[in-house]
Symmetry: C2
Subunit: 324 residues, 2 copies
């Protein structure tokens, strides 16, 4: 699996980086969160993309780091907003330090992520690179806002939901693939194709995550199976079930989703049976496969001339090959 090779290149660079700097109370938390672990998906994909177009991995390292620093900034601030005590099994930044540290260290990480891109200021695509990064950063905030908004709303549509997950999780991954290609002097069309691949894989991955959260194998799924159902999250499965129910039954189903008094495992089983009965599981699988097919199509045109592009098909399988 090529992904793991590039992941190691990135992880070695990260663990050789000391984020501690002056003022210590600002940067010690940065070093803490950056070294907490994670799949390093975005920076690794950036490195794979640059290598595919015969770019220099070493040259691309700072851009990969920019993505990971930005991603971790979002985790720090999102964890405050979600009042999450744990991240990857360890204390979140605002829990380990305090609220103000979480805010300010997050801010400086966001600023730092831009700074890491200035190494490329002489690159012919510098303006395009920094603009792609900025666009993705903005959309990540939009996605987070929609996610917050949707908690209160009862009329979220499937289109809105898919836009939310696209912004919240797919665009940064896609921007990394695009930036990796641009750094290697790939053509704008190739960079765009990598972006399209990234958006579709990101969407497929998130839909798969929705499916696995309810139907995954507890042994293999990292999080607690049924968590979304217990929390009453309006995932694609919920939205599709609601759409396929008559108005009266939809109201009953919404009440079930929002019921916090029901025994957890009873609620999970009841909701799952509705997902199946009303075709939502089947539909979500279709949506996932459709995105995956679009991702593959985006790659196919580039195969000739860039044989390494094939490793992205392996990456798709690695990310999307988990069956419920």
């Amino acid at each position: 699996m090529e992904f793991l090779k590039y992941q190691k290149v990135f992880a070695d660079n990260l663990h050789g980086t000391d984020f501690n700097a002056f003022p210590a109370n600002l940067y010690e938390p940065v070093d803490y969160i950056m070294k907490l672990g994670g799949k390093r998906l975005r920076p690794t994909a950036l490195l794979m993309s640059t290598d595919t177009f015969n770019g220099d991995l070493d040259y691309a390292k700072d851009a990969a780091m920019a993505l990971e620093v930005f991603h971790n900034f979002t985790l720090v601030h999102d964890d405050i907003m979600d009042e999450a005590p744990l991240r990857r099994g360890k204390d979140t930044v605002h829990k380990r330090y305090d609220l103000n540290t979480g805010i300010l260290s997050g801010d400086v990480m966001l600023i730092q992520s831009y700074g890491l891109l200035f190494k490329y200021s002489d690159h012919k695509y510098f303006a395009e690179i920094i603009k792609s990064f900025n666009d993705a950063a903005k959309l990540v905030c939009h996605g987070q806002q929609l996610d917050v908004d949707f908690e209160e709303r009862l009329d979220v549509t499937e289109t809105e939901y898919l836009k939310m997950i696209e912004w919240k999780t797919a665009v940064l991954f896609a921007a990394g693939l695009k930036i990796g290609a641009l750094l290697a002097d790939a053509s704008p069309e190739q960079a765009k194709a990598m972006y399209t691949y990234g958006i579709n894989v990101g969407l497929a991955f998130q839909v798969q995550d929705d499916i696995l959260d309810s139907f995954g194998d507890p042994e293999k799924f990292g999080k607690k199976v049924g968590g979304d159902i217990v929390q009453g999250k309006k995932t694609l499965l919920v939205l599709k079930t609601l759409e396929n129910l008559s108005k009266d039954l939809a109201a009953d189903f919404l009440a079930l989703i929002n019921d916090r008094s029901l025994d957890e495992s009873t609620k999970i089983e009841l909701v799952k049976s509705k997902f199946i009965e009303y075709g939502a599981l089947e539909y979500a699988e279709e949506v996932k496969n459709s995105y995956r097919a679009k991702a593959t199509a985006a790659l196919n045109d580039m195969l000739e001339g860039f044989p390494k592009i094939n490793m992205f098909n392996d990456l798709s399988e690695y990310l999307l090959g988990r069956e419920a």
Copy 2:
């Protein structure tokens, strides 16, 4: 006063700008804070700088806006950290909306401030402009962190204090002057001189603010006179008084500064008499005047060829001409 003319150019542009965008819950607070008022010092100075070097005011408007959006981002997040209910006599963002909105709308403002600079991606100094902005943004965070750190520390030195106010308030103003000059194709030396002017005016302004907070005319000073003393803030006046006291008396003075049980006006008068007795007021005036002289010196070399530079001497007088 030329400042007011450029301030109007900026304010007209700002009030003609609708910051509301989708998602509304994210951007409505941006529009709210951006239109709450303020001196618009940083963007106005940027416009003055660009006009001095015969640049296009209209062209520079987005850069001016970038500075103001960034500055307001810091206000939104700082108000959360300070638990401040009011800003310019109105509700702060986290008070009017909620904590999460304050965090996320602040984040998107920071991202937006970079985005406003991409209009200049074809400018020959684009890399220098965005790097100057980024450096200033980073130092503003460092200054805020030191300000937080100093609250807990008893051994803050004068040098540390001056570095904190330089970072927290002077660097963004100075970066604006530099960027304004660069946008007008001023030479790197001229841009650097404008930056030096900005740092020194910013420092002089902050030291003056420390003086006026204790010794200002209540009719003219915007904030409550004596506020720093009541809060026990370790301003330059406090640090210098401590330095000039013997060890035993310094401990007494620190106890007085931190005494929260004492009647407010008694505490204010007691502390002010120490500031005078131990030469801290006189010293602070000297420090202010020394920075002001450095600011003037930075301008003098540029007078020939750029007669409009003279308006910065008027700006210095406008900002620094308030006597205790």
